[in-house]
């Protein structure tokens, strides 16, 4: 999972999230990542519209494939990765893992919106209606999306921050395990053979198409990682500000450093 290491904050300390004002910076590797993403996405667009041949039977409409499928794959891997981060949070009690799990799901849901939108447009273009039930991957993606959307009401309906982080992690793990099972069940239920175009990802695509697809996939994956790093940086900045405000407003300490607030990672079990 290449992106897991990419967004690991460069100066990772086990107490990275413990707020004693010198905590970890998430934004360190952001600039190179952003540059790489823009370059890759630009090449993707160029390849899609000037290099990849038109699909034999779907024609020009098939070009949506290069955006729709990578978004779906990256979103799903993001969800499963969020489950791993949730497990890491439960094991190490380090709140930064909970933040990563939250942001990973948040990004997955945003990418999910794009997947469903582009999927609907593609369905309208090639099959004449905005939604098709006999398209198993689209249907199972919708179910996964409906599940992950409930992450927000779950998170905001728990007051105690420690418990909220724990329950969010349990959700991330459960939903992460759900993704493959859901695909199996829906795939078995749809007796209709998968339309030719989408199962081309199995590699029997002509060379140019596969190259374009792989570049697109890399571009979208990097986009996911960059946006996630951006979100983590902004969340961390806002959290630091809240700490700073508490520190300044608390007239009892009047600026003296109060005890660190975040939880101590218990000895890993």
């Amino acid at each position: 999972m290449i992106w897991c290491s990419a967004f690991w904050p460069t100066r990772y300390s086990t107490s990275s999230w413990r707020i004693d004002l010198e905590s970890t910076l998430f934004g360190r590797g952001l600039k190179p990542l952003a540059v790489a993403t823009t370059v890759l996405l630009a090449t993707t667009l160029a390849l899609v519209f000037f290099y990849a041949p038109n699909d034999a039977d779907q024609g020009f409409i098939q070009k949506i494939f290069y955006i729709h499928v990578p978004l779906a794959i990256v979103a799903l891997f993001g969800f499963v990765a969020a489950g791993v981060m949730g497990a890491m949070h439960l094991r190490t009690r380090d709140d930064s893992w909970d933040a990563r799990s939250y942001v990973a799901i948040h990004m997955g849901v945003i990418f999910g919106v794009a997947v469903l939108a582009t999927g609907a447009i593609w369905a309208k273009g090639s099959w004449g209606k905005w939604w098709v039930w006999d398209e198993p991957t689209l249907v199972s993606f919708l179910i996964v999306f409906l599940l992950y959307v409930t992450y927000y009401p779950l998170r905001y309906s728990i007051e105690d921050p420690q418990r909220r982080a724990r329950y969010a992690s349990v959700f991330a793990i459960t939903a992460g395990a759900f993704v493959p099972i859901n695909f199996i069940a829906v795939r078995l239920a749809e007796n209709l053979v998968h339309p030719r175009v989408l199962n081309q990802t199995a590699g029997d695509m002509p060379g140019e198409m596969r190259l374009t697809f792989l570049v697109a996939l890399a571009g979208i994956a990097l986009l996911y990682v960059t946006l996630m790093k951006l979100e983590l940086t902004s969340k961390n900045a806002r959290r630091q500000l809240r700490r700073l405000r508490m520190l300044l407003e608390d007239e009892r300490t009047g600026g003296a450093a109060p005890p660190p607030v975040a939880t101590v990672p218990a000895k890993p079990v």
Binding site: L90, R166, T174
Partner: protein
């Protein structure tokens, strides 16, 4: 084991005394069948339509029972009493899932005959043995995921709203598999093709989420 028996026994005793969950679930199911009759405007159902009506009704009736599962613990201090006791905390999950299976079976003992009476002409009773296996496996899946989600939802503010929206997507595979397995059993003439495949999917679901719920439950109870 002692703790599981103690908690399950307590739950069933409270249910027998208050008759809070099962009657409500049964009434809900029968009324839903009537609504389906008018909604679909059908006097007789078979095959996938029958399977669909049956499983959608059972799923939503189950939600009523799951919503009530941990309310007594939350409102009457049962959580503190149990979490302070020298027991494996996962016994609470197993006991609650077990109690939920008992409620579901009680619901099905009432709802299925009514369903057959309303919609099935004949041949229902020779489908029952296989149907019972499918139903039990589905109940196990609902019970495990339901008990885990109920223990999460009960600690939140909007628990009656949160539980259904969390549970429904998660139990889609159960409904798909159960309905697909029930379809041949309720078709006229009775078939049995494909039932095994879907029973396998149900078993896989129960196994994965059973292990997962067991593994994470301690974290849900910790404070």
């Amino acid at each position: 084991m002692r703790a599981i028996a103690a908690i399950a026994r307590k739950d069933l005793l409270v249910e027998l005394r208050t008759k809070e969950s099962v009657p409500a679930m049964a009434l809900f199911a029968v009324t839903t069948f009537v609504i389906f009759h008018f909604g679909l405007d059908r006097d007789r159902l078979e095959g996938e339509l029958a399977a669909g009506v049956l499983w959608v009704t059972l799923l939503f009736a189950a939600i009523l029972g799951i919503n009530r599962l941990f309310v007594a613990e939350r409102e009457q201090g049962g959580f503190d009493g149990i979490l302070m006791a020298p027991i494996e905390r996962t016994s609470l999950l197993i006991a609650k899932a077990g109690a939920l299976i008992v409620y579901l079976v009680a619901l099905e003992l009432i709802a299925l005959p009514v369903f057959a009476l309303f919609f099935i002409d004949q041949g229902f009773w020779d489908a029952v043995p296989r149907l019972a296996a499918v139903i039990l496996l589905a109940d196990l899946g609902l019970a495990v995921v339901g008990a885990m989600l109920a223990s999460i939802a009960v600690h939140t503010r909007a628990r009656d709203l949160l539980l259904p929206i969390l549970l429904l997507p998660l139990t889609v595979p159960v409904v798909i598999a159960a309905a697909a397995a029930t379809k041949p059993l309720l078709s006229v003439p009775l078939e049995t093709s494909g039932v095994a495949k879907w029973v396998a999917v149900l078993a896989l679901y129960d196994l994965v989420f059973g292990l997962l719920a067991y593994a994470v439950f301690d974290f849900l109870m910790e404070d």
